[in-house]
């Protein structure tokens, strides 16, 4: 390509280094950097500490410089000031990030006002950034919180035989969005939600909220959408009210097996279903193996869990960026936005040859994989893929609209509705998608 245009491309990576997800900082950066190492000649300065930086990244002849790492704390004010620091002080052209839902909302607004910059969401699950705000320069190569749970509600209905369930959800946008996926799905199949309980974030004592849930004898089960730091405490509160958790009566979202969840709550939930991140860590596909090998290669010594979905989402974001920049020949702004791939091959996806497609709002349409917590061979909890939900889009086939009320305490309502994937959910056994329809 034209040698004269070898200007430096300035890249920023943003994650959380404080607050509930503070532990994910190095992971996320590692995920993005592994892609840059694999596809863009980058060399990590330290294979143990990704945030130590990276040298030698080149795309389409352009050197790429990571100008800085953003450190959020899961709150809006810090997200915005970190974004400003990265984009304005350090003059990044492109940002990969942020980590969480509300952060993504605020950065979407920022993106709207800064059309010459490009934003690829790291791993945030809120609906608004791409459904409501949808700036032209913002991309997300993974599902939102509702998508992640698509199919899981149907499984509860069909496989666990639930008819009446109660739901407890974090009282903020991610909790609502995540719950929305379960509610829409479960009610769509014919289930009834008899009670919705919303404890506020950072609740000290979940006991009075758990008390509001109908007793286990009165419902078939509970959708447990308390996340981040609340999963463990809320389950403990349940135990001190009703005794031991019966995993068959619990269906959760990604927090059942995510990060600390694996050590903190999963041991109590062996057998429970949950939505996960919509991807399929542990699938034995070639793509998955390749992805894991890549991660091990670059950040093996850092020792972190390569199947972690945060890592994976950041990896895909950076991967997409490499593809886009290559295609645009290093050109930024509008031409980069036009060049960013509308479809990428992602390790933990299988349909369409392992592709994640983007919709017209630059939001992923992806397969989803409901999971179950099982006891692994080493005695530790393990995640098992149990289902395959093909091609879930953000609007749930038109169910969520830009004009409809966003997920909230009473949204969506519990109504019967046939979603595109209903009747097409396939069983997955030992990491292989079978022909058997399970919902």
């Amino acid at each position: 390509l034209a040698a004269h245009s070898a200007s430096v491309i300035r890249l920023a990576i943003m994650s959380d280094c404080k607050g509930a997800f503070g532990g994910a900082y190095e992971l996320d950066i590692g995920g993005a950097e592994a892609a840059l190492a694999q596809y863009a000649h980058g060399k990590p300065v330290s294979s143990k500490k990704p945030s130590a930086g990276m040298t030698g990244i080149t795309i389409a002849g352009h050197p790429v410089k990571i100008v800085g790492y953003g450190c959020g704390n899961d709150t809006v004010p810090v997200a915005i000031s970190e974004t400003k620091r990265l984009m304005e002080q350090l003059k990044a052209d492109i940002m990969i990030g942020p980590l969480s839902g509300d952060e993504a909302v605020t950065i979407a607004h920022y993106a709207q006002k800064h059309p010459t910059k490009t934003f690829i969401i790291g791993t945030a699950g809120s609906q608004d950034p791409t459904l409501q705000i949808a700036p032209k320069n913002m991309f997300r190569y993974h599902g939102d919180g509702a998508q992640w749970n698509a199919g899981t509600g149907i499984l509860a209905y069909k496989k666990l035989g639930w008819r009446k369930a109660a739901i407890i959800m974090d009282d903020y946008s991610f909790g609502w969005t995540s719950a929305a996926g379960l509610i829409a799905d479960f009610c769509g199949a014919g289930g009834k939600i008899v009670k919705r309980v919303f404890p506020p974030l950072n609740t000290t004592d979940y006991a009075p909220y758990v008390q509001q849930l109908p007793a286990p004898s009165k419902v078939d089960g509970y959708f447990w959408v308390v996340g981040g730091t609340g999963t463990g405490p809320s389950l403990k509160a349940y135990e001190s009210a009703y005794g031991k958790v019966d995993p068959k009566k619990f269906v959760g979202n990604l927090f059942f097996f995510f990060q600390s969840g694996f050590a903190d709550v999963a041991p109590r939930l062996i057998g429970a279903y949950y939505g996960g991140f919509g991807n399929a860590p542990g699938l034995k596909t070639a793509g998955a193996k390749q992805y894991e090998a890549t991660m091990k290669k670059w950040f093996g010594p850092a020792g972190f869990n390569v199947t972690d979905s945060f890592v994976y989402n950041y990896f895909n974001a950076a991967h997409a960026l490499v593809i886009g920049l290559t295609k645009s020949g290093g050109a930024l702004g509008a031409s980069l936005n036009a060049s960013l791939p509308r479809s990428i091959k992602a390790g933990y996806q299988v349909s369409n040859g392992g592709q994640v497609k983007l919709d017209s709002n630059r939001q992923a349409i992806a397969d989803q994989y409901p999971q179950q917590i099982v006891k692994g061979p080493d005695g530790k909890p393990a995640a098992k893929i149990v289902g395959y939900v093909p091609g879930v889009d953000q609007s749930f086939g038109g169910f969520f609209k830009k004009t409809s009320p966003p997920p909230g305490r009473s949204q969506p309502p519990c109504v019967k509705h046939k979603f595109p994937w209903a009747g097409h959910i396939k069983a997955v056994q030992n990491g292989v998608i079978t022909k058997k329809t399970i919902g």
Binding site: A24, P200, N202, D205, P208, Q211, T229, S240, P267, G303
Partner: protein, 365 residues
Amino acid sequence: MRRAVSAFDWRLLVRRLPVGVAVGTTVFALVWVLFWAPSTNFGPAIHSPANFLITLLNGLTLAALMFIVASGFSLIFGLMRVVNMAHGSFLLLGGYIAYEVQQSMTNGGGLTVFSSQVNAWDWLVPAIVAAAAIGGIGLVTQQVFLRWNMGQDLRQALITIAISVIIADQVVAHFPLESSIEKGSAVNTSWPGAIDRLVNLHIAGVQYSVARLTMLGLGVAVGIALWLWLYRTKTGMVIRAGVDDRQMTSALGVNIQVTFAIAFVVGASLAALGGAVFTSYAGVNPTTDGQWLLNSLVVVIVGGLGSIFGTVAGALLYALVYNFSISYLPTTGGDCCGQYSPVLTFVLLALVLAFRPQGLFGRPA
């Protein structure tokens, strides 16, 4: 004269107003909860005595935990006038230490251990180690950073804020120690199996958690021990005197620094003890520190500084209002009103302070 009389009436009214409002609110709240409570989760207590009892017990047991934590804060804050903004961090670190000790005693390998694997010692030793370790950190904090600037409230508060920032970051950087788990992850310990069960209270058929009742007992025990120490020994007098006038206390031959150091260590250890309990009861994570700093502040504020009874009262009021407002606010539609209980809780606390600025049991400033 007539003017004076009318002024008299008006003032009297204003002076009685708080009492009137307080009595009125209490009566209304009681009637509401006991007999009325339409469109709430459980309906009035007479219809659903079990839920009322559970709410009450939840309130009392939470109050006990709040008391344990806040009494440490109150000791440091009320007696030494040090607003220890690192109190939440002490609790957090104490919680992680208790977790690590229990893990290593039960070979948890980083996974939550079940109460069936935990005996009384597996719980007590971690709690004691945590309390001792944090007591040590408290001692260092007090000796290195606070000892020489006693009386400068704000400066000390700022110093402890800086320390809490550092501790928070250090916790995220190093805990949990187990390498297969992400740093900064939430962790929890388990109650000993013996108390991790429900007991039938034989009242309205309520089954209640023995662990929570144990927590209540622990709170009472801590309260009694503190009371004996502060009001039945010279140490208590010396601390109070030292707070009033450090120099004069010293001029009476009292090595006030030693006493302050002891008080600080005890206060910090109580935070860690609370942390150990909280780790079993809910679990700790890197946001726990702010949450508990706030809890402690509120309890101590409402109760009144440096008074054990005040701390008891503050903890009870806070925990009961919290529990009852969540359970007994009406829930009509999705957006009202149950989820406003946190707001309501704090508005009530502000009102308490407005009418009794020094807190329920505080000495007038």
